[in-house]
Chain length 132, copies 2
DNA sequence: CGGAATCCCACTAGATACTG
DNA sequence: CAGTATCTAGTGGGATTCCG
């Protein structure tokens, strides 16, 4: 499993842009996706409630990101209740729920290392000012 | 550990943009970072060799991404050998190496699920054409 | 060889206004 | 309530040129 096209970044060369890691990052690396996935964790959530939970998101980006997740099959059951006024609920699919573990691994790394990263950045920027 | 500012997406509300997961994705979610990290996995690599390993990267983006990694402290030992012509080698730090596990978790999820994601996208797009 | 500087384009995402 | 449509500023990243 070493050199097939589109191969892994870590299991073998080459380091192609269509490697699995890059492809998943293309889906979840944007500004809002993981926040929405997090906000959907505890079950069905209405559009307006989602908008409240995900601080700072615009209506456009919420709609757009939800549509992309629906298309991916990561979020399903966009349920439209034909009441008046209309009620729409969103919930994660099983596939979406399996994303939790890898995301949590990433999150734990962040919690452990992000302080060091910030410190390193500060040191780097200070050195920058000294050297020129 | 529920409602502290900048809190986790999964360990508690709110779902703020400065949550750890979002912050790490801001660092590694771009087009080239994980490819470069992968290309640096087996030790010291020269600039020109990196450029060959990471297919399609421009000189500007390679330099820019390496500088960002260096600043983060994820990649260190940018070693300049003052020969003629000059030789510069890059290698991951220990912190950078610890990124492997979370990235591999993400990669494995991708390998398992990306086929389903593509199938779901196709189905979604076909339904789109039917429904108008 | 290993960059830095500049120009330029495509795309992301926010703001705003309107609708079933 | 839950969207859609349009406009626009900001940014990521490629191509090109020049430098120690």
């Amino acid at each position: 499993m070493v050199t097939t096209s589109g191969g892994s970044v870590f299991y073998g060369s080459p380091y192609r842009a269509d490697c699995p890691t890059r492809r998943i990052l293309d889906r979840i690396g944007d500004r809002w996706t993981v926040l929405i996935v997090g906000a959907l964790w505890d079950g069905d959530v209405r559009f307006s409630e989602l908008r409240r939970r995900v601080e700072g998101i615009s209506q456009k980006m919420l709609t757009q990101t939800l549509r992309a997740l629906e298309r991916d099959g990561l979020l399903v059951r966009r349920t439209v209740h034909p009441e008046v006024p209309v009620r729409v609920e969103y919930a994660l699919t099983e596939a979406g729920r399996t994303l939790r573990e890898p995301l949590r691994a990433l999150e734990e790394w962040s919690i452990v290392h992000l302080t060091d990263v910030s410190a390193s950045q500060d040191a780097y920027d200070r050195a920058d000012r000294r050297d020129g």
